[in-house]
């Protein structure tokens, strides 16, 4: 036993070492890519920069602001005024002919921070998984080799994901949006309520969709981290009562013997209070920075209004641009409502079904948003893919993983080709690129559906193994 422990400790020493090497390598790789941006020209790729995240539009907004005009004058900039005042001055400075070098450095830092926070979330989740598995009797020892270090995996997936690298080097502001989202999750997981509230408010301010994360964050704060359904613990408890053994008693079961999970109202109220405080603070800041121009009303119409009404029909990897370029004007509002409501419709069923796994719920919400977003980019995919890898322990028997991997790979290779054929060569038409976008949407849908079903199956299999275990004991 002691020998085993020593080996384990050695391995654990080695693993972080390897992790840091890989993380450092990813940073170096990014810096190398940044050093020759002209050849890559990633910032103009429609997959990377959308009207909301493009740095050129941000620079234009900053220019307009410097020319004492509203940054939202015209329809160039649609981001947050705070981002403008942070990143704007960096866009003007040219270093050795690289116009956006400082911005790229900011994005690299944001990426590294996000990876570190993801690692923190992963470590928490890993601990919770180990604890729950032991409580359920699936794992016997605390140092079982069966648990994967999901934090390290997620961080590395985030750092080495080509999507993340491309959106970092391609100067889209999505690394910062992702950082805000991950920050809010990190705050919730580590139970730092003000931090969680700040992350959530920031992410919502930057792009409207993370507002859906309110539900999972409340669940995390209210019910605790991801765990198998409460029923299982109750079953075990009943079995244990029968056995009258008190060796391993679940914490939750100890606290409340009834079938309902305890909900920590106090924390949630605390969280809501902080959300209100932060949003008030941000609104005041935005109001101050826009007081000379159109004020907050203009900001909302130009940011959220722009997101919701899908005014820009330039191609991206989503499906809305072509749909709204083709649909008859008469039906435009109808379809706008239908498509936006599609996100909202499934929030509640998912929340009911995955109540016991709030972090996973957050991942599903983010994935759904990235499918149904008005202006999706690969940066969104990068976020949900790394969140997905937080659940490698639970989703080991996910189906179609190879098929999906090939799909994602194929789409990311075909998309530039189709775009080139259509826009630059003029030999293909818009359908080529749209077909690609449809394919991408389908793969994402399969991915989400399979993830949810794998997670539910995991819970089921836990229940089954539990009952088997009992039967064997009986």
């Amino acid at each position: 036993m002691t020998k085993d422990g020593g080996e384990m400790a050695e391995e654990q020493k080695k693993k972080p070492c390897r992790f840091w090497i890989w993380a450092l390598a990813s940073v170096v790789f990014r810096l190398i890519l940044i050093s020759f941006p002209g050849n890559l020209n990633l910032s103009s790729r429609p997959e990377v920069s959308t009207p909301l995240t493009s740095i050129r539009r941000l620079a234009e907004g900053y220019w307009l602001k410097q020319a004492s005009m509203s940054p939202y004058a015209g329809s160039m900039y649609h981001g947050s005024p705070l981002l403008l005042s942070v990143l704007g001055p960096l866009t003007v400075q040219r270093i050795k002919g690289h116009s956006f070098l400082l911005c790229s450095l900011v994005f690299v830092i944001a990426d590294v921070l996000s990876a570190m926070l993801l690692r923190g979330i992963g470590q928490k989740l890993q601990m919770a998984y180990g604890l729950n598995a032991r409580l359920l009797g699936v794992l016997k020892s605390s140092r079982d080799k069966g648990i994967l270090p999901c934090g390290d995996i997620a961080a590395l997936v985030y750092l080495w994901n080509p999507f993340t690298i491309v959106s970092c080097v391609g100067l889209s502001t999505s690394p910062i949006e992702n950082l805000a989202v991950i920050l809010s999750l990190y705050g919730a997981v580590t139970r730092r309520v003000p931090l969680a509230a700040f992350g959530l408010v920031m992410a919502t301010q930057l792009s409207l969709y993370p507002a859906t994360l309110t539900i999972p964050i409340i669940f995390i704060l209210g019910y605790g981290l991801d765990a198998p359904p409460l029923k299982l613990f109750l079953q075990i408890r009943s079995v244990e009562k029968e056995d009258t053994s008190t060796s391993a008693v679940s914490k939750q079961a100890k606290l409340k013997p009834n079938t309902r999970l305890p909900f920590l109202w106090k924390t949630v109220v605390h969280f809501v209070f902080w959300v209100l405080l932060w949003s008030l603070y941000l609104l005041v800041l935005c109001g101050l920075s826009l007081s000379k121009y159109g004020g907050l009303e203009e900001m909302f119409t130009r940011t959220y209004g722009f997101i919701l009404s899908i005014e820009d029909l330039s191609p991206n990897i989503g499906v809305f641009w072509y749909f709204f370029a083709e649909v008859f004007d008469f039906f435009r509002n109808f379809f706008l409502i239908v498509f936006h409501v599609n996100i909202l419709f499934l929030l509640l069923p998912l929340a009911i079904r995955l109540k016991h796994r709030p972090c996973f719920l957050a991942f599903i919400y983010l994935a759904i948003c990235s499918i149904l977003k008005s202006y999706p980019s690969v940066g969104d995919a990068a976020l949900y893919l790394s969140l997905w890898s937080l659940f490698v322990n639970e989703l080991t028997d996910m189906k179609f993983s190879y098929f999906l991997f090939c799909g994602y790979l194929g789409i990311s290779l075909l998309s530039p080709v189709m775009h080139n054929l259509w826009i630059w060569r003029g030999t293909g038409n818009a359908n080529f690129y749209f077909g690609n976008a449809i394919g991408y949407a389908c793969f994402q849908i399969v991915f989400v559906v399979e993830s949810v079903s794998a997670m539910l199956n995991h819970d089921r299999s836990l229940r089954k193994s539990n009952s088997n275990h009992r039967e064997v004991e009986n």
Binding site: S44, R56, A59, E60, Y62, W63, L64, A67, M69, A73, G74, S75, M76, T91, E311, D312, L313, S314, P315, V319, W321, Y322, F323, F324, A325, E326, V327, D329, V338, N342, L346, P349, L350, R353, L372, W422, I423, W424, G426, N429, A430, N431, F432, F434, G435, I438, A441, C442, I445, V446, V448, V449, V452, S453, L456, R460, K464, S467, N468, E471
Partner: protein, 696 residues
Amino acid sequence: MCKPDQYHSLYKHHFLSPELRDLLRNARSAVIQVSDRLRRFSLDPIMARLVLSLITLLILQSVWVTIAFESKHVEEFSEELLLKPLPDRKVLAHFHFENRAPPSNSHGRHHHLFPKAISQLVQKFRVKEMELSFTQGRWNHEHWGGFDPLSSMNAKPVGVELWAEFDVPQSQVDTSWKNLTHALSGLFCASINFLESSTSYAAPTWGFGVNSDKLRYGSLPREAVCTENLTPWLKLLPCRDRDGISALMNRPSVYRGFYHSQRLHLSTVESGEEGLGSGIMLEQTLTVVLQPDSISGEANIQPSWSLSSLFGRNIVGRCVLAKSSNVYLQLEGLPSHELKNVDPETEADKFWKNAEFELSLKPDRILREINSFLYMFDIDKSSDREPFDLGLTWKLPSKWSCQQAPLHSTRFLMGSGNERGAIAILLKATESQEKLSGEDLTNGRCTIKANIFQIFPWYVKVYYHTLQIFVDQQQKPGSEVLKKINVSPSTDKVSSGMMEMMLELPCEVKSAAISIEYDKGFLHIDEYPPDANQGFDIPSALISFPNHHASLDFKEELSKSPLLSKFKEKSLVRSYTEVLLVPLTTPDFSMPYNVITITCTVFALYFGSLLNVLRRRIGEEERYLKSQAGKRTGKLKQLLSRLKAKIRGRPIEEAPSSSTESQTEVQSSVFSSKLLFKIILVAGAAAAWQYFSTDK
């Protein structure tokens, strides 16, 4: 052609006001009454005739006095034609018609000469000043001149250009503009009403040359100009094209030219008197550049021409309603050089008949300008028998060049592909620059100021922060060269963008270029014109030089010629750049239904499959499957299992042998994923089939 009696009736109807007509009628009846009375008194017939003629004379005199008194407030019309041989073997003909309506308190309800449609337009929309031009072809600034009043006023951008200044409160300007475009559209048979939408016009502040916040400017580069636009324009003239100078406008010869621009300028003149409204001045010009049929064998001799060879018609008499009708011939450059020392008194003939060239008619007057000679002809004397057919015959080869603007401007697009690009405006120094540069010294530094005014349609999304200025091929920071800049960025589908900038360039500049990047917009399927793949036009940019003014400086005292007094005024030197054609990406116009159905299918797939996964209960499905299996195997087994279940109780019911359950579970999930896969496959096949079918 009109017949004499028609003229008479025209004269009668148009020229004499009803009051005058009444007066004449009364006078006639008075004369008749007096003669009756004289006859009754049986006076000597000779005596009677004498008295009668005396009375008639008296009455006529009083009528004359009335007419003379009225003429102060009478409408005036004048017609003029300027002919000018151009250095590149072409001939410019510039028709100029001016119609003045005096200020009147009757609010212009009644007009004799002035077109009622125009005066109603002015009254209704409170137009202070307006200019509308229809142009086909491009003015050649290098050969046809860029620094004379003629080119700065009449070199117009291709298509329709309209600007108007209103005399209404600021909030009503846009409404007035919209109404005005519709009215003009109907009046001139053109699609000027497209300028109504806010995406096609702009409100220049200072870049246009007229500083006013009630000014609106718009242009339609795509508009084709033809006789349908000329006919309504001619209708505004009192004699139309029936008589006078306008009779020369033979449609085939006018439209055969290299350039033709018909312009209508309208301005209100404040009377200053209380109670009186404002007068209107309507100026209509038609500028055509024609290529005379060269008869002479020698290639380097300028082609000789006459009015009849240019237009295929002659001038037969003047328009009787015109106050003045003159024809001018302007000869620039070389001829004036040699004739400078000739005394106009003694050797008058030498001016029009010399070794170099010969005019077919003797000019009535010769006006001398710094660079040119102006021959004036009065067409009063021409008649049916003796038509006015001015001709110019060159005897010796001659060469001259026109005065040019300080900088020659061109504009072009950069970049390829349908995603983005850049617009560049290049200003190149011309020869005349050195002559002009000395004049404007500011802060001890000789500079040329150039204003650039440019409208961008919203689908050209300009990034103003990418503005780069190069002077003599070296990039300069904006603060050094750019003196003033005013930008109003475009809003998608709402308003067009506008850029006004003032460059201050050193006089010795050889070339200056500005470039600005843009993204191409993607339009809704309905926003594309019928021929979407042709591309979209970016209207011409206007380059003006605020420190340079063009005017003709005559040595002689001028007669009251509106055209010449116009030329004598200082006018801003301006030039328009080319219209740019920007190709935009098109969606597949035949696809709306397919796109809607495919997209909705994807959404249904998302919603349905996710909901299916969420609401699925594996346990119940298993129970159902088992009961089905039990039905098949036999009732006894089924009964047994039920019994077993009853004995064990509900919770234990869910615990059958693990191996079979996992198998069935796997089966069912495989079944569901297979179904999913099939759906995707079918959707993919349908999409693929659609592409192939549409491509064919």
